[in-house]
C-alpha cells in the first residue's frame, strides 16, 4: 500500500564515511612513504605515487558519479511478519559523462520515519547506471513486527572504485507508508469447531433464495424449473403448479474478540494475542467462514465478511492496531453486533476472563498460542512460504526452526529473530 506523495523534495546531503578499507589504505600508504624515504628506493617512491594517485582519482570519480544520482521510491509492497516485502526504486544518473557503479540504495531513518521499528534496513543494489540512464532496483526485507512503517528518505552510497572511502548522498523522497500485518501461524482445526454446549451457534438461515439445502418457500413454476422441485401436495391443494425453493447457503460467522490490556507490562501478551487473532481469522477465512473483529479496548469493530478481501482488511486492521491508543473506559463492552447464533472466540491478552464477551464464546489465552499451532499445517505453510516448492531442508528440522523463529517473534526477541 502506498500513500499518495505528500511532498516531493530532492535535497542532497553528501557525506564521506571512513571505512576499515580506507584506514588500511592510508596506513599502507604511510608505511610506503616511510619505507621509501628511509631506503630512497625509487620503486617504493613509484608505489607511493600509485597509492596517492589512487586516493586522488578515487575521490574525484566517486564524488562526481554520486552527485549525479537521483533516487525515487516507486512502490512499497504489502507486507506481513514473516513474509517478504519489496520496495522498488528508480535510480537516475543525471550526469552526462560519468557512469555510476556499485550503488547501494538504502532507507534512512529520520525523525518522521518509523520503518526501523518493524524491519531491518532495506537495501537495493544497482550495478551500473550510465550517464543519462535510469534503472529500477528493489530491496527485499522481512518485517519482524507488525505496524505501519513510514519511509521518508533514502541514501545512496558507493565505495567504488577502490573501496577507500564510502561516499553517500542522502535524499528526502516521497513519504510512503504501508501496513505490516501480524504474524499468521497455522492453527489446528479444533480451534474453529463449535464450542460444546452451544446449540444455537451456527444455525442460521438465509433470507434469500439460493441453492442450499434448507427450505426457503414456494413459488409458481416457471419454464426451466426441474420437475423434481415441484411441490406436488401444494400444487394439488392450490391448483397451481408450485415448486419448492431452497434458501441460499450462508457461511458460518465468526467473531474474533480481542481483549487487550493498555498497560505496557502486557505488551508481549498483547502482541501474542494479536498474532493469535490474526491466525484464527486467516484460518477461518480459508474455511469460507465470515470473520469479524472486535477489539473493545481500542474501539475497533469490523463486521464479519467473506473472502480474501475481508480477511485482508481484518489483517490490515490488526496490523495498524495500537493497544496503547485506548478509547477510554474499561473497554469491556462488546459490540451488540455479535449475535447469539454467531461463533465467537475471545482472545485474551494474558489470563482468561470468562465474563468478558458473549456467553457462548470460546475463550483462549494468548499464552496458549503454541498449543494451537498446527503441526500438520506447519510444513504446508513452510512450503507455501517457500514459493510453493518443497522445502530445501528436512521437514522436521524446518519445523523446529520454525517453532524457534515463531517463539522469538512472539516474545519480541528481535535479536533471536535477526
Amino acid at each position: 500500500m502506498t500513500s499518495p506523495a505528500l511532498s516531493k523534495r530532492v535535497k542532497l546531503a553528501r557525506q564521506y564515511h571512513f571505512v576499515s578499507g580506507g584506514v588500511l589504505y592510508v596506513a599502507v600508504t604511510t608505511l610506503l612513504m616511510l619505507g621509501a624515504l628511509n631506503s630512497q628506493n625509487n620503486l617504493l617512491f613509484a608505489a607511493l605515487g600509485i597509492a596517492m594517485a589512487g586516493l586522488v582519482v578515487s575521490g574525484v570519480l566517486s564524488g562526481a558519479a554520486l552527485l549525479g544520482v537521483r533516487v525515487e521510491r516507486v512502490s512499497v509492497s504489502d507486507a506481513g511478519v514473516g513474509r517478504p516485502m519489496t520496495i522498488r526504486y528508480t535510480v537516475r544518473n543525471v550526469n552526462r559523462v560519468v557512469p555510476a557503479f556499485a550503488l547501494i540504495v538504502e532507507e534512512v531513518h529520520t525523525k518522521s520515519s518509523t520503518w526501523n521499528r518493524h524491519l531491518s534496513q532495506p537495501r537495493a543494489f544497482v550495478a551500473h547506471v550510465g550517464p543519462g540512464q535510469e534503472v529500477e532496483c528493489e530491496a527485499v526485507v522481512w518485517p519482524s513486527t507488525r505496524g505501519t512503517p513510514v519511509f521518508d528518505a533514502v541514501r545512496v552510497w558507493s565505495s567504488f572504485p577502490f573501496g577507500i572511502a564510502k561516499k553517500s548522498v542522502t535524499q528526502r523522497t516521497r513519504w510512503d507508508r504501508t501496513v505490516v500485518r501480524p504474524l499468521v501461524l497455522p492453527m489446528r482445526d479444533a480451534l474453529l469447531q463449535r464450542p460444546s454446549g452451544s446449540t444455537e451457534a451456527g444455525l442460521r438461515s438465509s433470507r434469500r433464495p439460493g441453492s442450499g439445502d434448507e427450505f426457503f418457500g414456494l413459488r409458481e413454476f416457471v419454464p426451466g424449473d426441474q420437475l423434481r422441485h415441484i411441490a406436488w401436495r401444494a400444487t394439488a391443494r392450490t391448483g397451481k403448479v408450485l415448486v419448492t425453493q431452497s434458501a441460499s447457503p450462508v457461511p458460518d460467522r465468526l467473531w474474533v474478540i480481542l481483549r487487550l490490556d493498555a498497560s505496557s507490562e502486557f505488551r508481549a501478551s498483547n502482541e501474542r494475542a494479536i498474532a493469535l487473532a490474526a491466525s484464527i481469522a486467516s484460518r477461518a477465512g480459508r474455511d469460507a467462514t465470515m470473520v469479524g473483529l472486535e477489539a473493545p479496548l481500542v474501539g475497533l469493530s469490523i463486521p464479519p465478511g467473506a473472502g480474501c478481501r475481508a480477511v485482508d482488511r481484518l489483517l490490515d486492521a490488526l496490523g495498524r492496531l495500537s493497544p496503547s491508543a485506548t478509547v477510554g473506559g474499561s473497554g469491556s463492552v462488546v459490540s451488540t453486533a455479535v449475535g447469539p447464533r454467531d461463533n465467537a472466540i475471545v482472545v485474551h491478552a494474558g489470563e482468561v476472563d470468562s465474563a468478558f464477551g458473549p456467553r457462548h464464546a470460546r475463550h483462549i489465552s494468548s499464552d496458549e498460542i503454541e498449543q494451537w499451532v498446527s503441526d500438520k499445517d506447519t510444513i504446508q505453510l513452510l512450503e507455501q512460504l517457500a514459493g510453493g516448492q518443497p522445502a530445501a531442508t528436512r521437514p522436521v528440522v524446518l519445523a523446529r526452526r520454525f517453532e524457534a523463529w515463531a517463539a522469538a517473534l512472539l516474545t519480541g526477541n528481535q535479536e533471536r529473530v535477526a
Binding site: 628511509n38 617512491f45 608505489a47 586522488v56 519489496t86 529500477e136 565505495s159 513452510l382
Partner: protein, 741 residues
C-alpha cells in the same frame, strides 16, 4: 553481466602476477613451480562446484602450518623481508582454496598487494618493473570489480536479514544500465591513465634525500643483480665459474669533449679490488694490511669530489652499478680516479692502493669518474720493497722461463728494462704453456694451489693465471699484486654503453716498475679471454641486447632517479621549458623563500597534470564510446543484438536517434518502459513527436521482433522522418513515406 564472470579470472590473474613478481625478484624457481600451478589449481578446484570446497578446519590447519614453517625459518636465519614475502605467497595459495565471499576476495587482494610491496622493497630489477606495469592495471580492474561484487553481496545479505529459516534465498533484481561493459572499460582506462599520470607526477615531485636511513636498515636494501665479483680470491676450491648473463654494470666512456670512446673492438678493464697478500696454506689472496692509512670522505650527492690532482687527457666514465656485495660497494673505474661524483650522498673509504669502497651500502648506485689517461697508478709510498715468494717450485720455474732470454733472476742484476722483459716473458709463458678452463678442480690437500697449477695441473681460470704471474714476479723480486674487477667487452649500440655481466668478472696483475708505478698485465691467454667474455651472437643475443638497453633505461631513468634528475626535468624539462614554468619560477623568486620553491612547483605541476589527466580522460572516453557505437549498429536502449549475430538489425540506427531525440525533447524513455508505451505516454505533451515516433517504433519492432530486415528505402525514409521530428514541423508526408515504404 560480463564483469561478474570476469571478476574471478581477473582476481586469479592478480594473485598469479603477484606471486610471479616475487619469484622473479627472488629468483625462487622452486616457489614459482609450486605456488603458480598451486594457486591456479586451487582456483579451479574452488570454482568447480560448491561441494568441492575444502573444509575450513583444513584451511586453518594449512595456514597454521605455513606460519609455523616461516617462523621456524625466521628463527633459524633471522628476520628477513624475504620470509615475510614467502609467507604471503603461501597464504595466497591457501586462500585460493577458501570461500568466495567478498571478504575472502578482499583478503586475497590485500595479500597480493603486500606481496608486491615486499617484492619492491627487495628488488629493483627490470623484470620486476615490467611485471608491475602489467600488474597495476589488472589490480585496478580487479579492485573495481570487487567493489561491485561486494556491494551486491551486501544487498543480498540485507535481503536475507530476519528472514525465516525456511525461506529460500531471494535474489533481488540486479539493476544494470545499458552499455555497462563499454562504460566499465572506459572508466577503468580513464582511472588507470589518470592514476598513472598522477603517480608519475608524485614520483617526480616528491622530495628525495629527506630522512634517508632514519629507520636504519630495518627494511633492508633492495636487491639488485647479484655480482659474481668478490673482494677476495680463494684458490683451490672446486666448482665452476659463473656463466651468469645477469648484467651488473653499465659503463659509458667518453672524453672531455663528450665523444663516446666505447666500441665493439675496445676493451676496458674495470678495476675493483687490489689483493697483495697471499697465504699459501689457504690459497687466499687478501688485501695487504700495510697499504697505507685509511682515508674516509663524505661525498655529497651530485657534488664532485677531488681525489688526485693529476692532469692529462681526460677520460670520463659514467657507471651505473646495478647491484653490489653484501657488505660494501666497490667503486669500479678504468683509470686512476681524479675526481668522482655520486647520485647520492655516500661515505668513501680509500687507501694508497686506490681501492675505493663505500661501506655499508647495497643496491644500485650511479656515479661518474674522471680519470687522466697519462697518469699511471699512484705509488704507494715511493719506496721499492723487498719482495719474494717463498716457493722453490715457483722460483725454479721462473728461472727456467727467464733463462732462454738470458734475463737475470737476481733483482740487483736487472734494470728497469730487464724487469719489464722479465714480466713480459712470464706473461707470455703463461699465455702459451697453460690452458684456460672454467672447470675448477681442487688441488691435492696440503699442496699450494699456485704450485699445483704451475707444475702439475697447468689448467685454470683467470685467478690461477693472475696468481701464478704475481707469484713468479715476486719470486724474482718484482713487486706484483692481483687486481679483481670486470672486463668491459660487450658494447651495446642501442644504449651506447658497455654492458658488464656477472660472467665478465676477471682477475689480472699489476706490476710495479722501478719508478714505483704499477702497470697492468693480463696473463690470461687473450684468445681464451675473448672467448669467455666476448658477447654472444645470434637472435637471443640481440634480444638480450634489447633487454639490456631497456634495463639501462629502467635503471638510469627510474631506479636511480634523484633530485638532480628532477631538477633537470623541471628546469630544462627535457624540452618542456615553457613560459608557464618560467612564470612559476618567477613567482617563487618573488616569495624569496627557498623552501617554498618546491611546493609551488609541485602545486603548479600537479594542477597541470590534473588538467592533462582530465583532458586525456575525456578524450579516451569519447573515443571508446564512439568505437562502441560503431561496433553496435542499432543496439539502442532496447538491448538489441549486434549486427553480426542479428543481420536484421542493420539499418536500425534511426531508433538510436529517436531515443536521443526523446531525451533532447525532455521526455527520455526509461529503460524499463516499452517504446510504444512511452509514445502513448508522451502523446499528450508532444503530439507531433509521438505521431512520427509511433511509426518509427513500429518499423523498429518489425525488425527487432519480426526479424525482417529494413530495406534501404525504408531506412532512408526513417532517417528523413526522424530528422524532421521538430516542434511545428509538417511531418505528415514523411510519416506517409515511411508507411508506404
Amino acid at each position: 553481466m560480463n564483469q561478474y564472470r570476469r571478476f574471478r579470472q581477473v582476481t586469479l590473474a592478480v594473485v598469479l602476477l603477484s606471486i610471479a613478481v616475487y619469484c622473479v625478484a627472488a629468483g625462487d624457481v622452486g616457489l614459482a613451480l609450486i605456488a603458480l600451478p598451486g594457486a591456479a589449481g586451487a582456483w579451479w578446484f574452488r570454482t568447480r562446484s560448491v561441494a568441492a570446497r575444502v573444509p575450513r578446519l583444513m584451511l586453518n590447519l594449512a595456514l597454521l602450518a605455513a606460519i609455523l614453517y616461516i617462523a621456524m625459518l625466521t628463527l633459524r636465519r633471522g628476520i628477513v623481508l624475504d620470509r615475510v614475502a614467502e609467507l604471503m605467497a603461501i597464504l595466497s595459495v591457501i586462500k585460493c582454496f577458501d570461500r568466495t565471499s567478498a571478504r575472502d576476495y578482499v583478503e586475497l587482494y590485500i595479500l597480493s598487494v603486500f606481496l608486491v610491496i615486499a617484492t619492491v622493497m627487495t628488488s629493483v630489477r627490470l623484470e620486476v618493473g615490467l611485471i608491475l606495469i602489467v600488474y597495476v592495471p589488472v589490480l585496478v580492474v580487479g579492485v573495481m570489480q570487487l567493489q561491485i561484487y561486494a556491494a551486491h553481496e551486501r544487498a543480498l545479505i540485507a535481503s536475507r536479514r530476519r528472514a525465516p529459516p525456511w525461506a529460500r534465498p531471494l535474489r533481488p533484481k540486479r539493476a544494470v544500465g545499458h552499455g555497462v561493459s563499454v562504460q566499465f572499460r572506459a572508466t577503468a582506462t580513464a582511472l588507470v591513465l589518470s592514476g598513472v599520470t598522477v603517480a608519475i607526477a608524485v614520483f617526480v615531485l616528491i622530495p628525495r634525500e629527506i630522512g634517508e636511513n632514519f629507520l636504519h636498515t630495518a627494511a633492508g636494501s633492495p636487491r639488485g643483480m647479484r655480482t659474481s665479483f668478490t673482494g677476495e680470491i680463494q684458490l683451490g676450491r672446486a666448482g665452476l665459474l659463473t656463466e651468469s648473463l645477469t648484467p651488473v654494470l653499465h659503463v659509458a666512456v667518453s672524453n672531455d669533449a663528450g665523444e663516446n670512446l666505447g666500441g665493439p673492438a675496445i676493451v676496458y678493464y674495470l678495476r675493483g679490488n687490489v689483493l697483495g697478500s697471499y697465504d699459501a696454506a689457504t690459497g687466499a689472496w687478501t688485501r695487504r694490511q700495510d697499504s697505507g692509512p685509511a682515508r674516509s670522505w663524505r661525498v655529497q650527492a651530485d657534488a664532485w669530489h677531488q681525489l688526485t690532482g693529476a692532469t692529462g687527457q681526460l677520460l670520463r666514465q659514467e657507471i651505473t652499478l646495478l647491484g653490489a656485495g653484501d657488505q660494501q660497494t666497490y667503486v669500479f673505474n678504468v683509470y686512476r680516479t681524479a675526481r668522482i661524483r655520486f647520485d647520492r650522498t655516500v661515505i668513501l673509504d680509500s687507501r694508497s692502493d686506490e681501492r675505493i669502497v663505500i661501506p655499508d651500502h647495497r643496491g644500485e648506485l650511479k656515479y661518474e669518474v674522471e680519470s687522466f689517461i697519462q697518469a699511471p697508478r699512484a705509488e704507494e709510498d715511493g719506496r721499492l720493497r723487498e719482495v719474494s715468494f717463498p716457493s722453490l717450485v715457483v722460483r725454479t720455474l721462473t728461472e727456467s722461463v727467464l733463462a732462454p732470454a738470458q734475463i737475470p733472476t737476481a733483482g740487483d742484476q736487472r734494470d728497469r728494462l730487464t724487469d719489464r722483459q722479465a714480466v713480459i716473458a712470464i706473461r707470455d709463458f703463461l699465455h702459451t704453456q697453460f690452458t684456460y678452463t672454467t672447470d675448477i678442480q681442487a688441488p691435492p690437500t696440503g699442496q699450494d694451489p699456485i704450485e699445483w697449477f704451475l707444475e702439475d695441473h697447468r689448467e685454470g681460470h683467470c685467478e690461477y693465471f693472475a696468481s701464478a704471474m704475481a707469484a713468479m714476479c715476486r719470486s724474482i723480486g718484482i713487486e706484483a699484486r692481483i687486481v679483481t674487477g670486470y672486463v668491459a667487452m660487450e658494447w651495446n649500440e642501442t644504449s651506447g654503453q658497455y654492458v658488464v655481466r656477472e660472467r665478465n668478472a676477471h682477475a689480472w696483475v699489476e706490476v710495479r716498475d722501478r719508478s714505483g708505478v704499477y702497470r697492468t698485465y693480463d696473463p690470461t691467454p687473450p684468445d681464451d679471454l675473448r672467448a669467455v667474455h666476448e658477447p654472444q651472437r645470434g637472435l637471443r643475443a640481440r634480444l638480450r641486447s634489447l633487454m639490456d638497453a631497456m634495463e639501462h633505461l629502467w635503471v638510469s631513468r627510474v631506479v636511480t632517479f634523484d633530485s638532480g634528475m628532477r631538477d633537470t626535468l623541471m628546469q630544462d624539462g627535457g624540452g618542456f621549458e615553457s613560459t608557464l614554468f618560467k612564470s612559476a619560477r618567477a613567482l617563487v623568486g618573488r616569495t624569496q623563500l627557498a623552501g617554498l620553491s618546491l611546493l609551488v612547483q609541485a602545486v603548479f605541476v600537479g594542477t597541470l597534470v590534473c588538467l592533462v589527466v582530465i583532458a586525456v580522460g575525456i578524450f579516451v572516453r569519447a573515443v571508446v564510446a564512439k568505437r562502441a557505437r560503431r561496433r553496435r549498429p542499432g543496439a539502442g536502449a532496447a538491448g538489441a543484438e549486434s549486427s553480426p549475430d542479428a543481420p536484421w538489425l542493420e539499418r536500425t540506427d534511426f531508433y538510436d536517434r529517436l531515443l536521443r531525440l526523446f531525451t533532447a525533447r525532455g521526455c527520455p524513455k526509461p529503460m524499463h518502459r516499452p517504446p510504444l508505451t512511452h509514445v502513448d505516454l508522451i502523446k499528450d505533451a508532444n503530439p507531433d513527436l509521438a505521431g512520427g515516433a509511433e511509426r518509427l517504433v513500429s518499423l523498429f519492432y518489425r525488425a527487432r521482433f519480426g526479424r525482417r530486415p529494413i530495406s534501404a528505402d525504408e531506412h532512408r525514409a526513417a532517417i528523413r522522418l526522424v530528422s524532421r521530428l521538430e516542434p511545428g514541423a509538417d511531418i505528415e508526408p514523411y510519416v506517409r513515406e515511411v508507411a508506404r515504404s
